[in-house]
């Protein structure tokens, strides 16, 4: 009886920490969604932007010796500049190209940002400490990682504020108009350029927040870019164009991969998390090829 109780608790703990990890994936996936929604670009550089933002935050803190909030503001400003440059020198020159060409262009951006970030801030591992809590709390036998709890709350707050931004502000409405139809949006006087700069800036800030969460966990280092690979199944499952999809997708992937690793893994040799997340997302796609919340693809001849 006690064993069963323990197993049940353990199951709950796995589920809960899977969900929390999932929100951390969602944070990374959110950046992808924002950009894909507004400009139809599959932004391979999201991982690099996340690393660059986190590196800059730590760099500003160290270099200027300022409080992290000031460094945060400086980094946000920097990400806006990056967004402006991307629009000016890359996307602006590739208007109306096919998706895969734009995707390749973001790969160019990735290489550039990786090289540029390391040139300025170095390739060494950096400790990011903005006073986020560490360790775990004991909830009647269930250990919960404090940092992940904060990350989950941050992700929730971010989604709520993005939702308000998209639905209630003028810029947000313009963004949605652009996402629906570029031509129509332009003809009612919305500047595509401004919108793109705003979207890339917001994606940069989302990347910064994700970078802070993951950086506090792992230290700021090049490996952070690899997190983009963890966000892809989330993206696929939730649909490339849906913000709630990124969150729900993250929760499903996070919980799914942890449960699979613990309850299926031991029978097949373990370490199945990576491919299981993709397989799970693929299974969903076979039912809904546009992702859970993606817009329905209508094909005409």
């Amino acid at each position: 009886m006690e064993d069963m109780m323990y197993e049940l608790l353990f199951f709950l703990e796995v589920l809960f920490s899977g969900l929390l990890t999932g929100t951390l994936y969602s944070l990374v996936a959110l950046g992808f969604v924002l950009i894909f929604k507004a400009s139809g670009v599959f932004n391979f550089a999201q991982g690099a932007m996340m690393l660059f933002a986190a590196l800059s935050l730590v760099g500003f803190q160290e270099m200027l010796g300022v409080h992290w909030t000031i460094a945060f503001v400086l980094t946000v400003a920097l990400m806006v500049v990056v967004a402006w440059c991307i629009e000016k020198f890359v996307l602006g020159k590739l208007v109306n190209q096919e998706g895969i060409i734009l995707f390749m262009a973001t790969i160019g951006i990735t290489f550039f940002l990786d090289g540029f970030g390391q040139t300025i801030w170095g390739s060494d591992i950096k400790t990011l400490d903005i006073g986020l809590p560490t360790g775990s709390i004991d909830l009647g036998g269930i250990f919960v990682d404090r940092l992940e709890l904060v990350a989950g709350l941050t992700a929730a707050a971010l989604v709520v504020s993005l939702a308000i931004f998209f639905n209630k502000t003028k810029i947000g409405r313009a963004l949605r108009a652009v996402a629906d139809d570029h031509q129509a949006a332009m003809s009612v006087g919305i500047s595509l350029r401004t919108i793109w700069i705003i979207v890339w800036s917001v994606a940069g800030v989302v990347g910064l927040v994700a970078g802070i969460m993951w950086g506090s966990k792992l230290g700021v280092q090049f490996s952070l870019t690899l997190l983009a690979l963890k966000a892809l199944p989330v993206l696929m499952l939730g649909g490339f164009t849906s913000i709630p999809g990124a969150i729900i997708g993250g929760l499903i992937i996070g919980a799914g991969e942890k449960l699979a690793e613990i309850y299926i893994g031991p029978f097949v040799g373990g370490a199945i998390e990576n491919w299981f997340a993709y397989m799970l997302a693929m299974a969903f796609l076979l039912v809904r090829p546009q992702g859970l919340f993606g817009e329905k693809i209508i094909e005409r001849v």
């Binding site: 895969i100 550039f112 090289g115 990576n274 491919w275």
Partner: protein
């Protein structure tokens, strides 16, 4: 003037359907092959042959494979690395499979081993191609990552694939054909070149056949292609099969000819990405583009890395590497802006220019 086909008459269907119907192309290809077979092994240093040309050719072969799938059939795949791994590991399994023949141990001939590895990869490719019937575009690209991670995991997990090697690595047998051992970089290069040239020609021929036209129809609009009578199932899966065959052979060559001893990580996710980059930069739907793309992605970074020390600019290797990344990124964007349809398109445009040059009127 140099590229005018006026005066070259075709008097039979056979001539009209030749792979290279224009004389200049035939001369050009012959010259390139002559150069590749005779000049390069004699003139170039071992470094250029062993560390630059051989890997370049193998990756170009993989890029041709992916180009068939992505450029001709329109199915984006990020599982190329895994398919190469399947090729490498199955080639190893075939090579170490021996039968007792009248008391003597007999193993499969090397060429058969490599081609069989391609066949195994084709079968695996078909299996992972099935979701493409339902999933499209970037969703499919992400779905093929499932193949990438699953296969990598499987090769690490199942000891049988490595003949229970404790380190999980495979060691390629010596390259022997009919008693001749390919040992020096030049010999290995010629071995690779023969494979790559033959298969590139095969690919060139295949894409203008009925099958190839089917792929292109599916790429341009699959519903329309279905309506005019191409079956999506056969067409898409045949693209996956042929593409994987090429990647499998490339993987086997990578393990046997280039590296010698490999671990599954040699075919990781970065390899898949790199090969997709080659296809996009080189030109989708172009065999020539696969070669140009492979050259761009593999040779350019090495070139950039070599420049600063050569011009006596002493800035430390890390700085050089960072510069290499930045310049490489900028060049990718630059070429996309100049010619979004790939570098091969530049050659097509150049050909048009040459046709009338120097008398444009």
């Amino acid at each position: 003037m140099f590229y005018r086909e006026a005066g070259q008459f075709k008097s039979s269907y056979k001539e009209d359907q030749a792979i290279f119907p224009i004389l200049q192309d035939r001369v050009g290809i012959a010259a390139i092959l002559l150069f590749a077979y005779i000049a390069i092994p004699f003139v170039m240093s071992d470094y250029l042959i062993g560390a630059i040309m051989t890997p370049f050719l193998i990756l170009a072969l993989a890029a041709i494979g992916l180009n068939i799938l992505t450029g001709y059939a329109g199915q984006i795949s990020l599982g190329t690395g895994a398919f190469m791994a399947v090729g490498a590991f199955s080639a190893y399994k075939f090579a170490t499979f021996s039968i007792m023949l009248g008391g003597a141990e007999a193993t499969l001939p090397l060429v058969v081993t490599i081609l069989l590895a391609g066949v195994v990869t084709a079968i695996v490719g078909i299996m992972f191609g099935i979701p493409s019937l339902r999933i499209k575009g970037f969703y499919l690209a992400v779905a093929t990552l499932a193949a990438q991670f699953f296969i990598e995991w499987l090769l690490v997990k199942v000891g049988w694939f490595t003949n229970y090697s404790p380190s999980g690595v495979i060691t390629a047998p010596p390259l022997v054909i009919l008693g001749f051992e390919f040992n020096t970089p030049a010999e290995k290069y010629l071995f690779t070149l023969t494979f790559v040239a033959a298969m590139a020609l095969l690919a060139k021929n295949l894409v203008r056949s009925h099958i190839g036209r089917g792929w292109m129809a599916i790429r341009d609009m699959d519903i329309a292609a279905e309506i005019i009578g191409f079956r999506p199932l056969q067409t898409k899966l045949s693209a996956f099969a042929v593409s994987s065959f090429f990647c499998g052979v490339a993987g086997a060559l990578w393990a046997f000819v280039h590296l010698g001893t490999v671990e599954p990580e040699a075919f990781g996710i970065n390899r898949s990405f790199a090969i997709l980059f080659m296809v996009i930069i080189g030109g989708m739907g172009s065999i020539l583009g696969s070669f140009i793309g492979a050259a761009f992605i593999t040779l350019l970074p090495i070139f950039l890395n070599n420049v600063p020390p050569l011009i006596g600019w002493n800035i430390g290797v890390d700085m050089i590497a960072h510069l290499e990344f930045m310049i490489f990124g900028v060049l990718i964007i630059f070429f996309l802006i100049v010619e979004p349809h790939g570098l091969a398109r530049l050659w097509t445009i150049g050909k048009e220019k040459l046709r009338s040059w120097p008398f444009p009127y």
